[in-house]
């Protein structure tokens, strides 16, 4: 990564006092990630981060699917900003990369077209009686983890090193399109060679893999997936990425977008069941982690509290390589302490 120009593209990332907005789909698919992020910020870094109980959708998926009109999206976003204003915060941190894209797009639009800002203020006031300030700083949570990656490293129990070989783990990083492709200036490292995840991997001892289809779509792409007839395109895109990264034998994949995490994880199961094809040499697939899960694992958090058992591709082999202990018997133990039913095993993908 030393040849990359990411250091020419830095962004302002607020130091403290964040207003956190949760993602619609992350809580379903990666339920431990957001809790881990809040814990890391509060307990490891000592930051003030507000998790508002009245928050709601940003309409991102509906907006990008042309279901929700832009005026509606602006007004819904304005309501979220009004919650931030009411709570007394100025730094907005949306968990989802698509939300991050929606917010940056709307704020940039308001800068260019002040009349739309006034219209939105009027609509929000008429419909809810609320007012709002535009955030001073909008960053993605991965920006914050990136900013404090060295401080976190100093608190981590584990490194991204294969304990059997002593070599750095080989990591594929995948950035959500809406992180930097809409506004490259809002991404650490810009759109072509983003560094936000690569910076974490390198700081925590791993090696970033640069493979030919690194910049290719993860397979979500909204219309590819949401329109059922197009799902073949979604699968084909993900497959293209896996075919491309396979020769490098990555130990795991790190993402910062809910869609990317989900599709790169779940489509491995689909490809395995359809084609009897997996992209690691032992038939287990390549684990896909969120950056919060990775940070939590290296900090020594319990992998089952992080929710790793809910991924399609399981992470025990990765934890073995790093040397992270885990209790097999508690893998499917619920919060109540009772064991949950074991999921059915796939026919081809080993778990």
């Amino acid at each position: 990564m030393s040849k990359r120009y990411w250091n020419q593209y830095q962004k302002e990332i607020a130091d403290d006092r964040y207003f956190y907005e949760r993602s619609c789909i992350r809580q379903s698919f990666f339920p431990g990630s957001e809790a881990a992020f809040l814990k890391i910020l509060r307990e490891e870094l000592g930051k003030d981060i507000h998790d508002d109980v009245n928050q709601h959708t940003c309409t991102g998926i509906g907006y990008h699917s042309d279901v929700v009109p832009f005026e509606t999206t602006m007004t819904v976003v304005a309501r979220l900003f009004s919650l931030m204003t009411q709570a007394g915060y100025e730094n907005y941190v949306p968990s989802c990369v698509t939300s991050f894209g929606v917010f940056t797009e709307i704020v940039e639009t308001w800068k260019e077209q002040p009349a739309l800002l006034e219209k939105t203020r009027k609509l929000l006031k008429e419909t809810t009686g609320r007012e709002f300030n535009i955030p001073k700083n909008i960053v993605h949570p991965s920006d914050i983890i990136y900013k404090f990656r060295f401080e976190l490293r100093d608190r981590m129990k584990y490194r991204l090193v294969n304990r059997y070989t002593g070599k750095p783990l080989k990591v594929v990083e995948h950035i959500g399109c809406h992180y930097a492709k809409i506004f490259p200036k809002h991404g650490v490292g810009n759109a072509e060679f983003p560094y936000v995840l690569a910076g974490m991997i390198e700081a925590w001892g791993g090696e970033v893999i640069d493979y030919p289809e690194r910049r290719h779509c993860c397979g979500f792409g909204f219309r590819q997936y949401l329109v059922q007839q197009n799902r073949g395109y979604s699968l084909a895109n993900t497959q293209k990425k896996f075919e491309s990264m396979q020769p490098y034998e990555p130990d795991f994949i790190l993402t910062n977008c809910p869609g990317c995490s989900m599709f790169m994880d779940k489509w491995q199961y689909v490809i395995a069941e359809m084609e009897n094809k997996t992209y690691d040499k032992d038939g287990y697939g390549i684990p896909v982690l969120t950056y919060e899960e990775l940070a939590g694992l290296l900090l020594g958090y319990d992998p089952w509290t992080l929710g790793l058992q809910l991924h399609q591709v399981q992470s025990e082999r990765l934890m073995d390589k790093i040397g992270i202990p885990y209790n097999k018997n508690e893998k499917f133990k619920g919060v109540s302490g009772k064991l949950l039913p074991y999921p059915e095993k796939p026919e081809h993908l080993k778990v």
């Binding site: 040849k3 990359r4 120009y5 810009n190 072509e192 060679f193 640069d210 493979y211 030919p212 289809e213 690194r214 910049r215 020769p247 490098y248």
Partner: protein
């Protein structure tokens, strides 16, 4: 005191300094010959110097670098006749050995100032001052910095090189990949930094199309077994012999021309480069592995051109120097006694640069005869 009538580019603040600190003025007016200061000793500056000296005028030729005609010396063969660039450069340098031409190497010029009677003073970076009756700017161009097109991976993937680097390989007569092997496939990409709104250069650099054809032919002559592709927007074969070269490239050398822009380059597992493009003639996306991707770099105004054009108040489009008009006064500026030649005005071929330098020399001789 600042002269209220001072024009853009005139700087006389040094006159406020104590005498001991003032720049040393070197008067070069032996035998009262008119003196012409030429800034930039590339092909334009050298050719103009030769022509002006032949008309019995004294020439002061300033060059910022130690070597003259650096851009020309970086070339191997010249289109369209494949003549040797070094031979041409050496011939021009030999002709500079004229009793009325004084060459100042490693002498960057800070600014030029018009003084009384439309005479000029030329200030060097090391605080020397030269007087001249006329000044000719030949500060030329520099190639586009390919790193600005990040999606093409220059400086990141070893298989991505520039047209200049390939030219240097031709000079060494050794074309190879990083592993030392002969390339099995080479892809050229046109218009890198030209005709590109994203980088702010909407203009055509004029010479890249034919340079790619020339380099592709040279490559096939050295390595007939290498597959060569040229990706283009449209090929502008405007000069004498250019269209013929393009035809020869296709018919005799089997060089394949693809109409399409490369959107992305990435490194491959085996050290090559993967490119993605759209073949717009068949309307299909295309993905290809190549050993070398050659970026045909466009021209931009050099730092010297930008700096002097700004200080003289003659900035044209895209930082190049602006002439009085493009038809009858293309060597003139709106500053009396300040002339332009070559690629400090816009991208030009070497043939056009030399013709333009001769034109500027004639305009300057006419100007001096009326002083």
């Amino acid at each position: 005191m600042k002269d209220k009538k001072e024009r853009p580019g005139e700087r006389r603040t040094w006159s406020l300094l104590p005498k001991a600190l003032r720049p040393r003025i070197e008067v070069q007016t032996q035998e009262e010959r008119p003196v012409v200061a030429i800034i930039g000793a590339g092909p334009a500056g050298m050719e103009a110097a030769i022509q002006i000296a032949r008309q019995s005028c004294q020439v002061l030729l300033f060059e910022a670098n130690a070597d003259l005609a650096l851009n020309l010396q970086n070339k191997y063969k010249l289109f369209p006749d494949m003549s040797d660039a070094q031979t041409l450069a050496q011939g021009m340098m030999l002709a500079l050995e004229h009793p009325l031409i004084t060459v100042y190497r490693q002498t960057p010029i800070k600014h030029v100032v018009q003084v009384e009677n439309f005479h000029w003073q030329v200030f060097t970076e090391d605080n020397r001052v030269f007087k001249a009756t006329a000044v000719l700017l030949c500060t030329g161009y520099e190639v586009f910095d390919a790193r600005r097109k990040e999606e093409l991976g220059y400086g990141i993937y070893n298989g991505v090189i520039t047209s200049l680097e390939l030219e240097n390989m031709f000079k060494q007569e050794h074309i190879s990949t990083l592993t030392g092997d002969s390339p099995k496939r080479v892809v050229f990409l046109q218009c890198v930094g030209s005709r590109d709104e994203k980088v702010g250069n909407r203009y055509c650099s004029k010479v890249c199309c034919v340079t790619a054809v020339k380099q592709a032919i040279e490559l096939k002559r050295m390595h007939p077994e290498t597959e060569v592709y040229v990706f283009y927007m449209d090929l502008r074969m405007w000069g004498k012999g250019f269209e013929e070269m393009y035809r020869v490239a296709q018919e005799q050398y089997n060089i394949r021309f693809v109409r399409g822009r490369i959107s992305e380059a990435a490194g491959t597992f085996d050290g090559g480069v993967q490119i993605k493009a759209e073949d717009t003639l068949i309307g299909k996306p295309l993905k290809m592995r190549t050993d070398l991707l050659v970026l045909m770099l466009g021209m931009e105004a050099s730092c010297g051109t930008k700096q002097l054009a700004k200080s003289c108040g003659i900035v044209g489009d895209y930082g190049f120097a602006g002439s009085l008009d493009p038809h009858l006064n293309d060597n003139h500026t709106h500053r009396k006694g300040l002339f332009l030649a070559g690629t400090c005005k816009r991208p030009m071929s070497l043939t056009d640069v030399i013709a333009d330098a001769r034109s500027a020399a004639m305009e300057i001789i006419n100007y001096l005869s009326k002083q």
